[in-house]
Symmetry: C2
Subunit: 259 residues, 2 copies
């Protein structure tokens, strides 16, 4: 395992200091320099697709704000979310494992920004940047754990728990307590009917944990939400912590250096 020095001690590049993506922020300055010129800032709008299922992965996205869903498209046309990607991660990393095409659809759930790099350029940089490579592979692993936990969760846990888990994950990744999310959208992500979400959300609302207002959902009681969620939230967060340090989703400046 590589020992990464605290990123904060090596930031001559002014852009580096403003990057919120955890992986980029954690890079030592010399590696950031290698990649910085190849990154293009892009704004992500709600509903925008970054990768289409089955199509080549031409760009990789270091998410900086907002978050992205990875969705498996079933043949009956129903999409189903398998994982969330926020500023802690990257959409399209599977190119580093040798994939050329995307097995999932990645699309923006909450508008934000990202740094885009071409697949070819990323591979070039990675060949010269062992810290970056190590961070990306670790992220790949954590994402895999998230997906695996989702598989178990989908089979075993009731919607109320799954909804709470999903809201926690969304809250972590967006960083704000008020999210622009319709029940319709959440229903698609969780693969259930919208009216079923309505009932589950109503229960959380009556318990004073969240408030729903026409496309905006506000998290009132984070702890209450954690209690309402299944273990799956914590299982994934803890795997993240064990590979990336103690504060997976806080702003990079507040984060302990990676171990």
């Amino acid at each position: 395992m590589l020992e990464l020095p605290p990123a904060e001690q090596h930031v001559p590049n002014p852009i580096h200091a403003t990057v919120r993506n955890r992986i980029l922020a954690a890079l030592p300055a010399e590696e950031f320099k290698l990649i910085a010129g190849k990154l293009h800032r892009v704004e992500l709008a709600l509903g925008q697709s970054l990768h289409r299922a089955g199509e080549p992965i031409e760009q990789v996205f270091f998410v900086d704000s907002g978050f992205i869903s990875a969705l498996t498209m079933l043949s009956d046309g129903a999409p189903l979310e398998i994982g969330l990607i926020g500023a802690e991660g990257v959409a399209g990393v599977s190119v580093l494992l040798g994939a050329t095409n995307s097995y999932s659809e990645t699309m923006c759930q909450t508008a934000g920004g990202a740094y885009r790099i071409t697949t070819a350029e990323l591979k070039e940089v990675v060949a010269q940047a062992p810290h970056l490579r190590d961070l990306l592979l670790r992220y790949t692993h954590v994402f895999h754990v998230q997906v695996a936990q989702t598989a178990a969760c989908n089979a075993h846990h009731e919607l109320g728990q799954r909804l709470a888990r999903w809201l926690l994950a969304a809250h972590d990744r967006s960083g704000v307590a008020e999210l622009s999310l319709t029940q319709d959208l959440i229903a698609v992500m969780l693969g259930v009917r919208r009216s079923t979400v309505s009932i589950a959300a109503g229960t959380l609302q009556k318990a004073g944990v969240i408030r729903y207002q026409h496309g905006r959902i506000t998290i009132l009681d984070r702890v209450g939400l954690e209690n309402a969620a299944c273990e799956c939230y914590e299982a994934v967060a803890s795997e993240y912590r064990s590979l990336f340090g103690e504060h997976p989703f806080e702003s990079p400046s507040a984060v302990a250096p990676l171990a």
Copy 2:
């Protein structure tokens, strides 16, 4: 992407010719030589655990015959299968992504054999063996796709389809039409009640697709089983083919060289 020469043209090592594990078999002779001395043949008994959830991954297993389940352990004690590993793969590869502990339990479902190597030795070899590294990363990706598809499948597909899918996967990995599998065991894997499996299996049996005989299940009509299964089987198999060539589960000697 590395261009791998056909393994068959480079087999001075007599052991190499007998290896059924697809990854080892696909290695060029010089790389096989690097790893061969560090591999220890082990027999795997039904129910044997290779890795415990949460515990360090000390050994990595190149499965040679039989197959392994990767299971997520939920806090209520219920295990749930997230993926199958046969001679096409390896149990414990996540060490190459930087994981130190196993997030899943891996255990033997059908007795067989494997080649074991310590994590430390594998990492050493991989540093000098680019083909091996490439193959292992590609396998990691394909396994990830399997898990992702399982997440969607668990949420959307009915047990009859899931059972058929699972039997196909087991059939592929074991290579034999008669499997020693109780309904009890399958029920645990799929996360449902045993009696629910009994009903679904009864339907397949009435359709003449399988036969059940006290812990032995015989696949009578492979095509019928494929028709009864959901798309998820084919989705995973096709991802495998796109990364490893046309014949994922046949014996290595019948397999086209990797592209």
